[in-house]
Structure formats: structure tokens, C-alpha cells
Amino acid sequence: MKMSKALTRIKSGFNLRHLITGQTADLQKVKQPFWVIVEKEISDHFRSVRFMILMGIVVLTCMGSLYSSLTNFSEVVKNSEDEFFFLKLFTTTDGAMPSFVVFISFLGPLLGIGLGFDAINSEQNSGTLSRIMSQPIHRDNLINAKFLGVLIVVSIVFFALGFLVMGFGLFFIGIPPTAEEFLRFICFTLISILYVAFWLNLAILFSVKFRQASTSALAGIGVWLFFTVFYGLIVNLIAKATAPSQFAHPEVVIRYQTFVKNLMTLVPSQLYSDATTTLLMPSVRSLGPLTMEQMAGAIPNPIPLGQSLLLVWPQLTGMIAAAVLCFALTYGLFMRREIRSK
């Protein structure tokens, strides 16, 4: 219901008549408080020093990864078997620097946490929260608007960066992307945004939970570090401890491998990297173990986009579920909370 309302509002916002006549008066009249907050959030982010710093880091690393993939590009193209040259721009590296995909998977959480960790508690600490909440807006409007504001900012950044990398790539390698490559790139960007959305939700959750912005930032970074560094170690330990013997029945081995894989899929970054590698490397046909029987008769060909998407569907669902879970918790915490001034 709300969604459809919002959609019609967006549609009416982009009404052609307004664009032509430049008539904005009656457009503003219908502007809901929600969009007013979103607008303010976005302008706040673009003005903030924090955003400049985060952007600086992201742009620099992306340029670095582009450079590293370009220096090695001719070698990669010569050795590759499929025709998706353009996508290699995002995944190859000369070894000195990680690829674009790895960078995004590394910086995405930083962006999400960095832009969301003080969403609510900074308003509370500066005394603006009780003033805003005493305006005729629903409580969820505030957290929704905060979330959407950052998401819009991140989307703009990711698309801009992606297109920038594409443009430079086009300039240097001279091969235009095919339609499918372009679509795969769009899907990749959307998944990246979804990935950031998860971390953003987590950060907003902490910002509601913890009164101190620094505590909430640390909590966010803590979770991120745990998943990127320690969780892998723990899974490794478990894997080693439960490994079947060399001579075990193949079924046991497969069960064991699925178990380890399932453990790893609890990590959002694993879901993300699975999803993006599948999308950017069309030759990936499975994310789990395949038996010889399954491989028999298969032609070693890249699979179409639809099939790739089907392959990463569980990963996508997992990421959406994680994001929704964080959001639901935030909602539960914030909706019935007492809003005191300071």
C-alpha cells in the first residue's frame, strides 16, 4: 500500500508537465515528510567531510584496481577461452593489487558502516531527535528515510564508479561491452548495493542500540572484522576437525563439503563474492561440488545471464534476508522506544 503510494508519488514527481513548465509549486505541496527527510539526508551526506574521505578512499582504490587489471589485460585476454573480455576488467589483476570486485567487497561494508553508524544516536545526542519526532511524522519515516538516503547516495557512487571504470576500460582496451556484459555489470552493481544495504542496516541497528556513536561504529567494524578474518579461521578449524578420511565414501566427502560450504554461506561477504564472481565470470556453472556424472556431456561454455542469476538466487535471498533481519530488529527497537531529549 505504502509502496504503491510512494511509486505514484515518484511518477507524479517526474511528471513531464512539471519538467517542461518548470512549475514546481504544486509538486512541493504534495511532498511528504518522508521525502523531505530523505532529501535532507542526501544533502547532509554530500556536504559531510566523512563522505569526502570515504569517497576518496573508494575512488583511489578503484583507480588502482583498474590500473592493475589494465597492465595485465593483454595476457589475460590471450589465455582466456570465453568471449567475455570486457567483464575481465573487473575481475583480473596483475597480482599486486586486488581486483575491482574484491575492492568493492572490501570497501562496501566500510561505506555502509561509515555512513550509517551514527544515524540515530547522533540525532539523539545533539537533541534534534526529540524535536524531529515531535513533528507530525511516523517514527518509521525517520529510520526508513535514513536508510533510503544512504542507499541512494551509495547507488549514485557505485553506478558512477562502475561507469567510470567501464569508460576507462573502453578507452584503453578498445572493445565495447556486449549487451549481456552490460546487463551483467548492472546486476553486479545492484548486488553490490544490496550488499552495502545489509551493512548499512546493521550500522543503523547499532546506532539505535548504542547511545555513543563511537561504540556503534566499533560494534559495526567488529562484526565486519569477525566475518572477514576470524570467521574463516573458525570454519577452517571446524573443517579440519571434522574432515573425513582419505578413503571415505564419496557421499561422505560430498556431505562434508556441503557442510563446510553451508558454514561459509553464513558470512555476508562470502554470499556477495559468490554472487558477483558467478555474475562476472559466466563460465562458473556451480558454486558447490559437482560430480563427474553431472559434468558428463556438459560443453565447457559460459552460461547465459538468466542461468547465472538462477545460480546465485540463494545467495541473493540470503543477503536480502540478512538485511531484512537487521532492519526488523532496528524497527522493533526504535518504534516503542521512549524519545527523551538528550
Partner: protein
């Protein structure tokens, strides 16, 4: 019924075992300035939060303009302007921008919001409209807060400790402004404070709030009547003594109709009576040959009332 703009009945708020607000009943008619008085931690702010639906009551009901604040906070917040105790603004924006933002949250079109914000800034006496709120002084913030409250054209304004941390002159001006606004626009004002004389000057009615209970309400005169009701009117007289015996004076005064008791400390006499008989007492004193240097009826200010209640609540 319709004339009461704020209606609280049986309102209770508990935090665990601690009862912050205890079965509060209160009705505030339209156009009144009501002062909620009490020490820190008496439950004033909690009551205000419940009025705005910013926290849920444990039991009881809150109605503002006939709307239930707990169920339909948004409708209530359209009509109520609230100035929180520690109000904050977006420090990197100007006062004008902050006001426009609030106005737009109230669905006022941008152009109108801008004009209204400028007008209100003038009205509360903030002339430099483009100054960032981060550089505002406490008094300026409070003024901006008042403008922020008024921009939605509320029917009721609720001010939580509006005079806190402002210098005496600023307090005077602020209260005068509040009074003026209430009279000009017919606003109902609910303000909480622990500063008694400040509030005494502007409030039509006050309620005394101690430990979550409203222990007395009414205008200052009727409050003192409620509190000192059992005691008769006290008249204080200071006399200049001559050689005449003291007994004569006391006897003479006691003979005056409605006088209950006379107490004498050196040259000061405290006379308790059931009616105001100042005139007769003066006559009695002079007739008994004493000089009269001072004679007045004792009024109980809020401070006395407050003090009295405190003594009671601590027992």
C-alpha cells in the same frame, strides 16, 4: 468537554518498580497558560512525553484536542508544538534552514515555509537569519526553539523547562513572549518548570507535581487557599510601643470580630482571622494608643506553597 484541550485521566507510567507518574488526572481548558511545577524527577517531562506519544503510558489515557496521543500520535503532533528540555538544531545549518526543515516536515509548501520562517525569526527577535545554529547562545537557541514550535501554527504549545539556563533578562523576555503569543493567537500553553516566581508571573493556573502526583492545582490564590485553607488569613502588624501595657492591645484586637488568635514577638504581631479585617485591626491598635508602622495581609507566593509541599512530601 470540547473546551478542554488537554485531558489526562488515570495516567500512570512505571519504569520497572519505579512509578514516575501516578494516576494523574488533569484538564486544561483552551487558551490557558498552565504551569506544571515540581522538582527534578517529579515526572513532569514523562507526562509531557506521554502527551506527545513519545512514550507509552503504563495505564490511563491521554487526550489532546480530543485525540488519543498514544494511538494517533501523528494527529496530535500536527496540533501540538513541543519545545524539548534540551533542544538541539542541526548545527551546520542556519536558523532559517532549520525552521524551513521543520515547516516542510509539517507539509508546508517550500515558499510559504520560507516566508513564515522569516516572519517568525523576526517575531522572536533573531535578526541574523543566516547564522549557523552551532554558534547560537543558549538564549538564542531557546528563541529559535520557540519559533520552531510556532511554525506549524499549533493549537497547543508544550514547553519543557523553557527558562533553563537563560539569564534573568532573557527569562523575562521569553516569558513575556510566551504570554503575548498565548493572548494574541489564543494558544493553550503548558509549561513545566522548577522556577517558581518566573512561572507565577505568566501562568493562569499551576499544578504542583511531586513524586509523580499532582498534589494541588489552581491559580496561585486558590492554591494557597487549598494549602493554607485550614489556616485563617494572617495579618502582620508592626507597632511602635509606648509605655502602655501590651495586654491592652492584644485584648483590643481579640475583641475585633472574626479574629481568632494574636501572636506577639517584640514589635511584630501575627493576627489570625477568618475574614479580612485589616481596617478594624488598625483602628484597634491606634485606639489602644500604639503607633502603627506597618500593617499588611500576608500573601502566600508559590515559593511558600512549594516549600510547604516539600515539607509534606518528605515526611
Amino acid at each position: 468537554m470540547a473546551s478542554h484541550i488537554i485531558e489526562l485521566s488515570g495516567l500512570t507510567k512505571k519504569y520497572g518498580d519505579f512509578v514516575a507518574v501516578d494516576k494523574l488526572d488533569l484538564k486544561i481548558p483552551k487558551g490557558e497558560i498552565f504551569g506544571l511545577l515540581g522538582p527534578n524527577g517529579a515526572g513532569k517531562s514523562t507526562t509531557i512525553l506521554m502527551l506527545l506519544g513519545l512514550t507509552e503510558p503504563t495505564s490511563g489515557s491521554v487526550k489532546v484536542c480530543g485525540i488519543n496521543s498514544t494511538r494517533e500520535p501523528v494527529e496530535v503532533k500536527k496540533k501540538v508544538g513541543y519545545l524539548p528540555e534540551n533542544l538541539g538544531f542541526y548545527d551546520d545549518r542556519s536558523g532559517l534552514d532549520n525552521l524551513i526543515y521543520t515547516a516542510r516536515l509539517n507539509q508546508i509548501p517550500e515558499q510559504e515555509a520560507k516566508e513564515k520562517a522569516k516572519m517568525l525569526l523576526q517575531r522572536v527577535g533573531l535578526t541574523d537569519q543566516n547564522k549557523k545554529t552551532g554558534t547560537y547562545s543558549r538564549g538564542m537557541r531557546q528563541r529559535l526553539g520557540l519559533a520552531d514550535v510556532l511554525i506549524k501554527s499549533p493549537e497547543v504549545i508544550i514547553l519543557d523547562e523553557p527558562t533553563l539556563g537563560i539569564d534573568p533578562k532573557g527569562v523575562q523576555e521569553l516569558l513575556q513572549l510566551i504570554k503575548q503569543l498565548s493572548k494574541e493567537d489564543g494558544l493553550t500553553v503548558l509549561l513545566s518548570s522548577h522556577h517558581l516566581h518566573q512561572v507565577q508571573k505568566v501562568c493562569d493556573r499551576v499544578g504542583l507535581f511531586v513524586n509523580g502526583k499532582l498534589i494541588a492545582e489552581g491559580d496561585v490564590a486558590s492554591l494557597s487557599a487549598q494549602l493554607f485553607g485550614r489556616e485563617p488569613i494572617t495579618i502582620e502588624a508592626r507597632v511602635i510601643e509606648h509605655d502602655k501595657s501590651k495586654k491592652d492591645v492584644e485584648k483590643a484586637i481579640k475583641k475585633v470580630k472574626n479574629v481568632k488568635a494574636v501572636q506577639k514577638n517584640q514589635d511584630t504581631m501575627l493576627i489570625d482571622c477568618t475574614e479580612d479585617v485589616t481596617n478594624e485591626i488598625a483602628q484597634a491598635i491606634i485606639e489602644s494608643g500604639l503607633g502603627l508602622s506597618q500593617l499588611y495581609r500576608r500573601e502566600y507566593g508559590l515559593d511558600d506553597i512549594y516549600q510547604r509541599y516539600f515539607e509534606k512530601s518528605q515526611v
